[in-house]
Symmetry: C2
Subunit: 501 residues, 2 copies
């Protein structure tokens, strides 16, 4: 390794550590921080963000990067160092386009905005959050302009989360997804009452919910010596190293689903981060390569595993033992159907597999309109509700069940939502490839064993961290580009059977 | 305010925020961090420490400081800005004496050492911790040499925690303390069994202990909207702003004292930090002025309030209601005597008011010998045990009850212990002054009211943060210099009465 590469790595490690410290502050803010801490925490996060940014975009980084690139020109294209230089260059070019002032302001505004959003949602008071949202949209516009784009403001933002993806790619994918989903959804909406999910909505003791979910997580391979699970308003996964990957969940005492499937979802993210190669830890190649690929992991565990018949063949008897009063009289097949009930609904994070993507497309369309100023912040609730009517035939009872429901905007994140649907699509491609390699996976899951599945995901996705950009990683792991057909087939087959279509 | 002063303040705020972020990481490490997180956390803390240091000692700080001093030469000596400049200059001069390399190495070594110490103590394995202790002593020697001192290595270290204090000051104070304590201790040791504390050592449900302690804390004025209480191996208080001041405690299911008096102790620290003037928050004048003054607050609440007859006149009936099986047959006076039982003991943090200072003097003497290489790390356990025999007539059963008991060395802190005794001495001086101002304080405490006491402490100590150096603050608040006589009188009177001497 050349001297300048070594020096570059040291500098990048400092930047990485500042980001990880910021992540610790963020985790604390959303789990245990008392309300009085918010103002100072915003300043602290802003300082870390500012210093990380200025350290990263400094002249010294530019010099070391250029020297290291020149000196390492002959490296094999697939070596870790060549890949590290590629990612460092990409991030550096992106970061130097962002004015320091914009970075600081964004950190400060969003640190306060999350608290305000939580309060506004609790009070169902959109007007209280609207001025902050206005600023966040404006910050995102300025960010997109600074980053640059060929076609649409949105492209610059989306690229932060899914490198190389644009509206030009997304529009046909979403059109195909609509075409596959809408007729299926309509057919199911017509017979929505043929599946009864009331067994899920009974009183379930929160302590027992927690214990059951943690047992499942342990079976699946989540390592509690390198992670932990806490409560938060909005569930998330965060990591400070491969040795400290934390998830949060929320419990509802009258609904089994949020904590159970939320835990499996965040665990899918966590397995990715816990599985990154040790040699990449602490470097710019640590962490998942894109949000879409990340989401493929969470959705795979949540839906393809957690909402499958085979999984509950093993776990339903245990769940019955945990909650005998609620479940001893329930047939496993009815429980399976209940958790896969499809219905038009208000809240994205609790939506079924069919309607989930319609929630995403709604947000994708609104974000574009807000960014391009075809829609005002004041009119956003009405526009939201109109689209809800169009896709679901529903009008939210209030903004807490509508435009205020997601944490993302308050975090400053726009252009993020599409990655959820990309994850859904990719999850089925990867699942099919894993099954080709290990045909016994379904039988193993029926026995509560997950080693082959997790092992395949580890070998093909997790261990690589962000060494490969998403397009390349998907090509390697899925054997080809993003393809919606396996996903459409999966939805048709699974829900066609449940609903007798 | 001049431009250079404003720019200096901005720069100091960045440094402050980095330190606060480091404190959040430290809190997390000792409360919720999974074991797998330790190695990366050490790197993260080291990076924050390194960047804060280099930002603070940078040429830009030097320039701004000098300019601001020149431009603000005519400020009233007692103005916040003049005081801020004094503290900034003091800290800058100190920090520029420390080589960056030493700062980084200290942060890295101590981050790992705390985990190792906890393991070594649990396993009663001094040998496992000794090499790390060796390095920590060496780092402290190098630090003392870098900081400079007139007389003793120890002076340079002590000055970090208690500005202006030296061994030359301490030796006569500790001599007087020994003279006041040893005869009293010996007289009591001869009749140690005249007080029975077995009522404290019964099974006490931890959840109820927690609830009771938190109710007391709330009554005393600890603001849970600007703080929280968690569990940790070693109790501590930490703050990230005046709006986020956290304490930790440890629970023993067979002993009421650690959690109850530990909570009151840490709350004393927390009231200081929560009470700092808002205008000082986020500046270099936030936070208590010295560890000795800080400890005067914790010991005042723990001992002068928490172990007083009047306090339990109000709370004992409530405690009896909480633990009827354990306490309904116990007389309040016997409970008062039990919590004030004096006995030769192994563990400092659980020691009574009489023997506590002997534990401190033992550490003061050993630290000096270790630093000055008159004692080797290998011989430290034996030296510890010899002094235990001399002061208490006891030999610790193992090193976990001896040389391994304190967290401080693993945190890199040497020269810290004397501040505990300084706090004890000062606490009685302040208590007497508060009572002169508000003679009704004892009656208020008997009624579970603490406003006058907390108000006096707030006005005379808390709100000033670190605006005044300890000697000056003590002069203002106590009406004169540190004086051991009120403390000696208090001990003689309280324990003379309990033990009929």
């Amino acid at each position: 390794m050349t001297d300048s590469l070594a020096a570059l790595k040291t500098r990048l490690a400092d930047v990485h550590n500042l980001h990880m410290a910021e992540a610790v502050l963020g985790w604390d803010q959303q789990t245990y921080m008392p309300p009085g801490g918010i103002a100072a925490r915003a300043e602290q996060s802003a300082t870390l963000s500012k210093i990380a940014h200025s350290l990263f975009v400094g002249d010294e980084t530019a010099r070391l990067l250029q020297e290291a690139e020149t000196q390492n020109d002959g490296l094999p294209a697939d070596s870790d160092d060549a890949r590290l230089l590629r990612v460092a260059r990409r991030d550096f070019d992106k970061a130097t386009k962002l004015p320091e002032e914009l970075v600081i302001e964004t950190a400060r505004v969003t640190a306060l905005a999350q608290e305000e959003w939580a309060k506004a949602r609790a009070a169902n008071d959109y007007a209280a959050f609207a001025p902050r949202l206005e600023r966040i949209i404006d910050l995102n516009r300025r960010k997109a302009e600074a980053l640059g784009y060929e076609d649409r403001l949105y492209d610059a933002l989306l690229d932060q989360y899914e490198e190389g993806m644009t509206c030009r790619d997304l529009d046909p994918i979403f059109a195909e997804l609509k075409a596959a989903t809408m007729p299926l959804a309509r057919a199911i909406f017509a017979r929505v009452d043929s599946v009864d999910d009331s067994v899920l909505r009974q009183p379930y003791d929160e302590g027992l919910q927690k214990q059951f979910a943690e047992d499942v997580l342990r079976d699946c391979g989540y390592d509690f010596a390198r992670g932990r699970q806490d409560r938060s308003v909005h569930p998330f996964c965060t990591h400070f190293s491969r040795g400290d990957v934390r998830i949060t969940t929320r419990y509802q005492s009258n609904d089994l689903q949020p904590a159970l499937f939320g835990s499996l979802h965040e665990m899918g993210h966590a397995l990715y981060e816990q599985g990154v190669d040790e040699k990449l830890d602490g470097t710019i190649l640590a962490g998942g390569t894109s949000l879409g690929v990340h989401e493929s992991q969470s959705r795979l565990w949540e839906n393809l595993v957690g909402r499958s018949r085979g999984f509950w063949q093993h776990y339903f008897p245990q769940l019955q033992q945990t909650f005998p009063a609620q479940l001893s009289h329930v047939a496993a097949e009815d429980f399976y159907r209940a958790m896969n009930r499809v219905e038009p609904s208000f809240i994205r994070v609790e939506a079924d597999e069919i309607t989930y993507n319609l929630h995403i497309i709604l947000r994708y369309e609104l974000e574009n309109e807000l960014l391009e100023d075809r829609l005002s912040v004041a009119d956003a609730p009405a526009a939201w509700n109109a689209k809800m009517q169009e896709y679901f035939g529903l009008t939210p009872p209030d903004d807490a069940h509508g435009v205020l429901q997601d944490v993302h905007w308050s975090m400053g994140a726009m252009g993020y939502f599409p990655t959820y649907s990309l994850g859904n699509i990719l999850s089925v491609q990867l699942w099919e490839r894993a099954l080709q390699a290990h045909p016994a996976i379904p039988q193993e899951i029926e026995a509560g064993r997950f080693d082959s599945l997790r092992g395949w995901l580890h070998d093909n996705i997790h261990r690589h961290g962000s060494k490969y950009p998403p397009r390349e990683l998907i090509g390697r792991a899925a054997g080809g580009p993003l393809d919606i057909k396996p996903y459409a087939r999966y939805l048709q087959q699974k829900f066609g059977e449940i609903y007798g279509l």
